[in-house]
Amino acid sequence: MVNNRTKISNITPWLFILPSLLIIGIFLLYPLTNSIYLSLTNYNFVYSDKPEFIGFENFENFFSDSYFMVALKNTFYYTLVFFPLLILFSFLLALLLNSKIKGVGLFQSAILLPIVVPLSLAGVMFTWILTENFGILNHLLGNILRLPQLTHFWLGEKETALNSLVAVGLWKYVGFSVILFLCGLKSIPSDIYEAAKVDGANPFQRLIYITIPNLRGSFLLVGIWSIIQAIKVYDQVVVMTKGGPGNSTMVLYLYAWKNAFEYFDMGYAQAIALFTGALAFIISVSFNIILKPERK
């Protein structure tokens, strides 16, 4: 009797997690395994009868594919610019929103509003804002501020296209990371600040020695999240530049998509997608190791 009960109690937790396991198995593990298999094959889903196993050839081809290397370089550039700027802006905005300035509620809504705007829609909107001849930005710079030397063909010049995409990404994602920082700021006990004030610490010292160290978890979270967002950048590129002009805004996921759904080269596309996923994973884990609080 006792044995039976033990057996049942051993099985029960498994029964509870079975639905989740099934869902994960069907929608995550199977596609992932299949994707790994396809990445090791030569498979054009229009012209090939079945996938042909070629080992790591797709991955080796990365090094001889100049367009892949450009996409990799652009993705790195996007990440390296987007990630620190997002952290900086969202941290500063969170500090501002956490202060007791008048009208902060309105400001808060304005910052959080982009979260509800779909990125594709934001892309269309910014395409018009950044248009060379009819865009609001150039109109503002050239006609209102009388600074025509600052006007650009923002999305049509190699020098400004990728940076414009970074700016749109920042506009879109800053609201969410502000929330993450605000949560961190609210959780810092006020008595620490009061004690520091009593000890004569000025606001800058309080920021450096109290706020920032206590926000380590928030920095970690925003950091990892922003790296993942940056490496998987796709939507705004498709809507705003399609990777152009030339290949100046081509990024890894767009290149993977092109290979899969324009060239029907599923094997190579899967290899690029897996590489991109692995890249995001490795960078996130590294960041986690660097910033994770040490156990004492």
């Binding site: 889903f45 229009v46 012209y47 367009y67 395409t127 248009t131 060379e132 001849n133 009819f134 025509p148 063909f153 999305l155 049509g156 010049e157 190699k158 296209a161 705003m240 530049t241 399609k242 152009g244 002009p245 030339g246 290949n247 100046s248 081509m250 092109k258 899969a260 759904f261 324009e262 060239y263 029907f264």
Partner: protein, 420 residues
């Protein structure tokens, strides 16, 4: 008693309704098309007229994204019935569908007034795969120049009748652009002489329209697509120089509608794109102010034509009806003239072009179309398009020389499958 009678009447009533419903059960006829077709093509009216002759039919419309080929291919590969007619791809994509055996041919219905010789050959050739017609041309276009007559007159580029004198060489055309371009005191262009459509959707047609017009063929002496001739180099030099000098706008690098928008707003005096834009732009600036101008030597050598295509999948449940709809309504005279008059779009039957020959625009198009050719079908069409777009954009915006551009295209396209 009353309750029993009520129940009997209710049962009889329900049975009657069911019988009536069964009697008028209709065949659902599914049409999938890219979203913009629903704005420009009178599909609803065509359906109404078709229903008059085929009262058993009811239509179901589905809007697809532009070039939404992959989802259809996957669905049809799995034998899913999602459409009787699909208008979502160019004939180059039809090749992929045909390779998979997913579409039916039209050979059995191309007879009488729809016989193959009744179609404009360039367009029907595009839809012909291994000798059989697997798609019907829709949105058939001829690459050309469209120019503002009023601006040309101001620049002294018109004859005594007010018509633009066609430029004979690229040098002539360059001089035209210099005369048509207006710059302010700071040297900033305020009106471009030309806007060329270099968007990925147009690039291959724009480039080869120039090559065909200048050389009379799109192939080099080895029978490969021409990326090596003197004319190819001249063309790229013309484009690059025009952009550097501020005579040619690069709006199309980020927006495929850029050239037509610039024409509509008066920011460009001419454009290098498909002929149909002349009607669309004319609606804004006035039809009398526009003219189709042949690319230099296009009247002698022709240019490039291209079309979108309409396909019937093998999984369609109403194949005979679908073919009937395509020929009876989609290619009816009223349908074709509506498209030509309102959007400048051709369908593919010769008689429609003949029927509008009294109008100058269609006269010129008819002349150009005589020698016009279509691109060959290539397995790696999409890769070649992306390769050309990337390299030519790099030339226009990144100081890559025309020689390097052609060399890069030659080198990278040598690995592609460009089987004719």
């Amino acid at each position: 008693m009353f309750r029993k009678l009520f129940i009997i009447l209710l049962v009889i009533g329900l049975l009657g309704i069911s019988m009536a419903a069964l009697a008028v059960e209709k065949k659902v006829f599914k049409v999938t098309a890219e979203g913009w077709y629903f704005n420009k093509y009178p599909l609803e009216k065509a359906a109404e007229l078709f229903i008059k002759d085929h009262p058993e039919v009811t239509f179901e419309w589905t809007k697809a994204g532009d070039f939404e080929v992959a989802p259809l291919m996957l669905a049809w590969s799995r034998n899913n019935y999602i459409a009787d007619i699909a208008i979502v791809a160019s004939p180059s994509e039809a090749v992929a569908f045909q390779a998979k055996g997913l579409i039916v041919d039209f050979e059995d219905v191309l007879k009488g007034e729809y016989a193959k010789d009744k179609w404009l050959p360039g367009f029907l050739n595009e839809c012909t795969i291994n000798g059989k017609v697997y798609a019907i041309p829709t949105d058939a276009e001829i690459m050309t120049l469209v120019a503002r007559k009023d601006y040309a007159a101001e620049a002294g580029l018109t004859d005594e009748n007010g018509n633009i004198i066609p430029p004979r060489t690229l040098d002539d055309l360059y001089t035209y652009l210099e005369k048509l371009t207006i710059k302010d005191k700071s040297g900033t262009t305020i009106r471009y002489g030309m806007d060329v459509n270099w968007d990925v959707a147009y690039m291959i047609y724009t480039y080869f329209s120039g090559i065909q017009a200048l050389r009379g063929t799109i192939y080099d002496e080895n029978g490969n697509l021409d990326f090596s001739s003197k004319e190819a180099l001249d063309l790229l030099n013309f484009w690059q120089r025009g952009v550097k000098e501020g005579l040619i706008s690069t709006s199309s690098l980020v927006d495929h509608s850029g050239p037509r928008n610039n024409m509509k707003s008066g920011l460009a005096a001419s454009m290098w794109e498909d002929h149909a834009r002349v009607i669309e732009i004319g609606k804004v600036v006035g039809q009398d102010k526009l003219e189709i101008v042949p690319i230099p030597d296009a009247l002698t050598n022709g240019t490039i034509s291209y079309c979108m295509s309409l396909m019937i999948p093998k999984t369609a449940q109403n194949i005979t009806l679908a073919k009937a709809f395509v020929l009876e309504q989609f290619n009816a005279d009223w349908f074709a003239y509506y498209l030509m008059d309102n959007w400048g779009k051709l369908l593919g039957l010769k008689r429609h072009l003949e029927g509008r020959k009294d109008l100058p625009i269609w006269q010129t198009i008819s002349k150009i179309s005589e020698k016009t050719v279509s691109l060959p079908k290539m397995i790696d069409h999409a890769r070649l398009v992306d390769l050309m777009t990337t390299e030519i954009h790099n030339m226009l915006k990144m100081n890559q020389t025309p020689e390097e551009t052609l060399a890069n295209i030659r080198q990278k396209s040598s690995k592609l499958n460009l089987v004719k």
